[in-house]
């Protein structure tokens, strides 16, 4: 039964395979054409803006040879071929291929257009493709999100404040990055342009806010920069690229460690492209005056921090320029001053975005009341397209004569005009302001005495080494204090041998008893006063000493006690010391 079912299933499978083969063989010979419209990132689109590139893809399936095509409905588009791709495959003995033709279409007219069908004639048979509808809108109406593709949720708006300008004019450019999802911009690749003709200033972030476009909320980051073109003509500013990271919250990693090590979100790097734009630059009309700037400037004013100064001293003259154009690159204008006053450029600062203050230090060379004439700022007004000059109000500065100046000099100043000229050339006598010269000090250099660095460090190290020595001694003493018992126990035999050697040297046999008492006291951790024959026996028994040896020891120890406490006339001291040495060796083995 099982075998029969198996046979039946085998027949079924083979029949199915046969039908499949027949179907595919027939379908492989069938020619089909497919037409599609996408943007440059291969996203299907139905709407676009004027002059925006659209990719038209024609896929011809099942055709083995190339045949001419006719595409309908592309009259209002500027079409450029973007290559053909062929893919060969063999199926059931028939060689077929998939041919893909690509065209880049740029809409030239606003309206709704029907592109297609594509027609080809093969073996007297006309084959037609599908057709696609494309709505072309004006730039203002267009928005990528209007397209059917839901993926286009990040886009750039990159546009100048005006499309016509003048050579050298700083044209403000706004760059806006809109995204419906949280993103993190990483890098902005400014358009690749000829830097000798077109220059961009560095981007400055203006704002970061939420904005609603087409009923959808967007995170909108806005930057600004200035564009300067040094050559007249029409200039195409190519597209700009922003590289950004998309931030997606990782719901699986909410723990502390993931958040600490930055794994709470998944980031992915992406690029977004801006649109190119054209800018028209006009040549500046001829001008004889010294040009200070190009743009729109409103006012130019001057002020002094002091109206009166001492001769030779300085005060600050501030020139304030206000205007709508970028003021960063405006250089301090040259001052026109009477020869009696001298000036130095000091600092430039901006308190407000549309204001720049140029500071100069004015030094009074000669006493008198001097007028600072009107200062001029000549610029080309890009709004009026003509040269304009802004002037300041004249100011007055009193330079008072230095009190320490000689009366002779003041006489010259007040009475004789010829001598005034000389006074201008000669420096003001300000010798009282400074200390007198040194006449008696040596004119030659005196070698400065000082200890060389290595020697000095060496000297500094001596007390430190002494401190280190003290520390070592202290540590050793502390160690000895805490470990005396242990040390005595460990070095008991060494100590006993030392004492025995000393006793032998002095032939003092009475010390032998004490030496052994001390030895047992140290090894058995008992006080010397408590050591007697019984205690020693207990000690040796614990150390697994044999009975015979114990008896020998008792005899030897009794002998030592007798020698120490009772007077004996004839004793072989040499033999006794030798026996003591032997006993020391033997005890070392047990204890």
């Amino acid at each position: 039964m099982v075998i029969k079912i198996g046979k039946l299933s085998q027949i079924n499978v083979s029949i199915q395979l046969y039908f499949l083969l027949v179907f595919y063989t027939l379908s492989a010979n069938q020619i089909s054409i497919e037409l599609s419209l996408t943007d440059l990132r291969a996203h299907a689109i139905a709407k676009t803006e004027l002059d925006q590139p659209v990719l038209l893809t024609i896929k011809i399936n099942g055709l083995s040879t190339s045949v001419p095509l006719s595409i309908e409905g592309i009259e209002h588009f500027n079409a450029e071929p973007r290559g053909s791709f062929k893919q060969y495959y063999s199926f059931n003995g028939n060689n077929t291929q998939l041919i893909e033709h690509r065209y880049l279409l740029r809409p030239q007219k606003i309206g709704s257009f029907n592109i297609g069908p594509v027609t080809l004639v093969y073996n007297n048979e006309t084959i037609r493709s599908n057709s696609c509808e494309l709505e072309v809108q004006n730039i203002d109406e267009y928005h990528p999100l209007d397209s059917s593709s839901p993926i286009d949720q990040t886009f750039i708006e990159f546009f100048p404040k005006k499309t016509t300008g003048f050579v050298g004019e700083k044209i403000p450019i706004t760059l806006r990055l809109n995204s419906s999802k949280p993103i993190e911009p990483i890098e902005c690749l400014l358009p690749k342009v000829n830097k000798e003709i077109i220059t961009f200033s560095s981007l400055e972030k203006i704002s970061e806010k939420q904005k609603t476009i087409s009923n959808q909320k967007y995170n909108c980051i806005e930057w600004s920069c200035n564009l300067e073109v040094k050559k007249a003509g029409h200039h195409v500013i190519p597209e700009l690229i922003i590289v950004y990271n998309t931030i997606k919250h990782n719901s699986f990693s909410d723990n502390f460690f993931d958040q600490f090590f930055g794994r709470s979100s998944i980031t992915k790097q992406k690029k977004v492209f801006g649109k190119e734009f054209t800018i028209t630059i006009n040549e500046l009309p001829p001008n004889e005056k010294n040009l200070n700037g190009i743009g729109m400037f409103e006012s130019f004013s001057a002020s002094l921090d002091k109206s009166s100064i001492m001769q030779g001293n300085g005060c600050v003259l501030s020139l304030t320029l206000k205007g709508q154009s970028p003021l960063d690159d405006i250089k301090p204008p040259r001052l026109t001053l009477p020869t009696e006053l001298k000036y130095y450029e000091s600092a430039c600062h901006s308190k407000k975005s549309n204001e720049k203050v140029f500071e100069y230090i004015i030094q009074g060379i000669k006493p008198g009341i001097w007028s600072i004439p009107s200062q001029e700022f000549t610029f080309f007004d890009t709004d009026k397209a003509e040269y304009c000059t802004l002037t300041t109000e004249p100011l007055s500065l009193t330079v008072q004569q230095d009190k320490v100046a000689t009366p002779k000099a003041s006489m010259h100043d007040s009475n004789n005009e010829d001598h005034q000229a000389d006074a201008q050339i000669l420096p003001a006598d300000n010798s009282c302001e400074i200390m007198p010269i040194y006449e008696n000090s040596p004119w030659y250099p005196i070698k400065k005495r000082s200890l060389s660095l290595p020697f000095f460090i060496g000297l500094c190290c001596i007390p430190l080494l002494y401190l280190f020595y003290l520390f070592i001694v202290y540590k050793r003493t502390r160690y000895a204090q805490y470990n005396m018992q242990y040390l005595k126990h460990k070095q008991a035999f060494i100590h006993a041998r030392k004492r025995l050697n000393a006793a032998k040297k002095s032939q003092s046999i009475t010390q032998l008893h004490d030496i052994f008492i001390e030895l047992f006291a140290q090894r058995c951790n008992i006080q010397p006063s408590l050591i007697n024959q019984e205690a020693i026996e207990q000690c040796l028994s614990k150390a697994h000493c044999t009975q015979a040896l114990l008896e020998q020891w008792n005899r030897f120890f009794s002998e030592l006690s007798e020698i120490t406490y009772a007077k004996q006339e004839k004793i072989d001291t040499h033999a006794l010391f030798n026996r003591a040495y032997v006993w020391l060796d033997q005890l070392e083995e047990f204890l």
Partner: protein, 248 residues
């Protein structure tokens, strides 16, 4: 023959030594003469000529540099005056320290610079510069030896206040010593013109920060014809071309 050769070589060496001695004595007398002439010209208020005479002196000591600074000041060249006075100070003009300090303040005022007298660092600078380095070194060593050798005795006898005082003195003298040492080892310069700082060794890296003429700066690094500077008073750092700075 050999004795003759010896005699000739001896004479040659003798002649050589005499020439050197005569030359150095002559140069010494000459330089002394220039110095005296320049001083006289200064008193006659002929500052430019005095300056020329000072410049003729080959190996200039602090007195020459100080006097040159005075000449520049009189000729209203305050930047160069500052350069020479500060150079004199770095050449060991401890005797003229107060004079230089007062003159520099005057020149800085003329240049519109704010004298940096208020900060703790400037006070330390002032204090450490008044005393020669060798004095600071000896003082520090004495305090170090005194503290270390008496620390045990002071601790045992519980003279804690004296011990604290000694340690504080040691630390402060060490601080001043480091300050003085740093002044001698770190290269410094005076800004000659009003220039913008750059963030790199190219004009393209120009920043908005500016340094003023007469401002004293510390030189951190040097690359080709650029120097990396740091200003103490307004804590700015950046690169400028070497031509805008005069080394002290």
């Amino acid at each position: 023959m050999r004795t003759k050769l010896h005699a000739v070589s001896f004479l040659f060496i003798l002649f050589f030594l005499i020439t050197i001695i005569v030359n150095s004595v002559y140069a010494h007398i000459n330089n002394q003469e220039f110095f005296l002439q320049a001083n006289a010209l200064y008193h006659e208020k002929n500052y430019q000529k005095a300056l020329n005479q000072y410049q003729k002196i080959e190996r200039k000591g602090w007195a020459v540099l100080y006097n040159m600074g005075n000449c520049y000041y009189m000729l209203n060249d305050y930047v160069n005056a500052l350069v020479h006075w500060k150079r004199a100070l770095s050449h060991g003009a401890i005797k003229a320290f107060d004079a230089i300090h007062s003159n520099c303040n005057g020149a800085e005022q003329k240049l519109g610079l704010k004298p940096d007298n208020e900060s703790m660092l400037s006070l330390l600078n002032l204090l450490s510069s008044k005393i020669p380095l060798i004095v600071w070194q000896i003082l520090f060593l004495l305090l170090l030896y005194g503290t270390i050798f008496s620390v045990r005795w002071l601790w045992i006898n519980r003279f804690y206040s004296i011990l604290t005082l000694l340690i504080l003195l040691l630390l402060s003298s060490g601080l001043l010593l480091i300050q003085q040492w740093q002044r001698q080892t770190v290269q410094r310069g005076i800004i000659l013109e009003n220039v913008n700082l750059c963030s790199g060794t190219d004009i393209e890296f120009k920043k908005n920060d500016k340094v003023m003429p007469g401002q004293e700066v510390m030189i951190i690094d040097e690359r080709q014809d650029w120097v990396h500077i740091y200003t103490h008073n307004n804590m700015l750092a950046g690169w400028i071309k070497k031509i805008y700075i005069e080394l002290i």
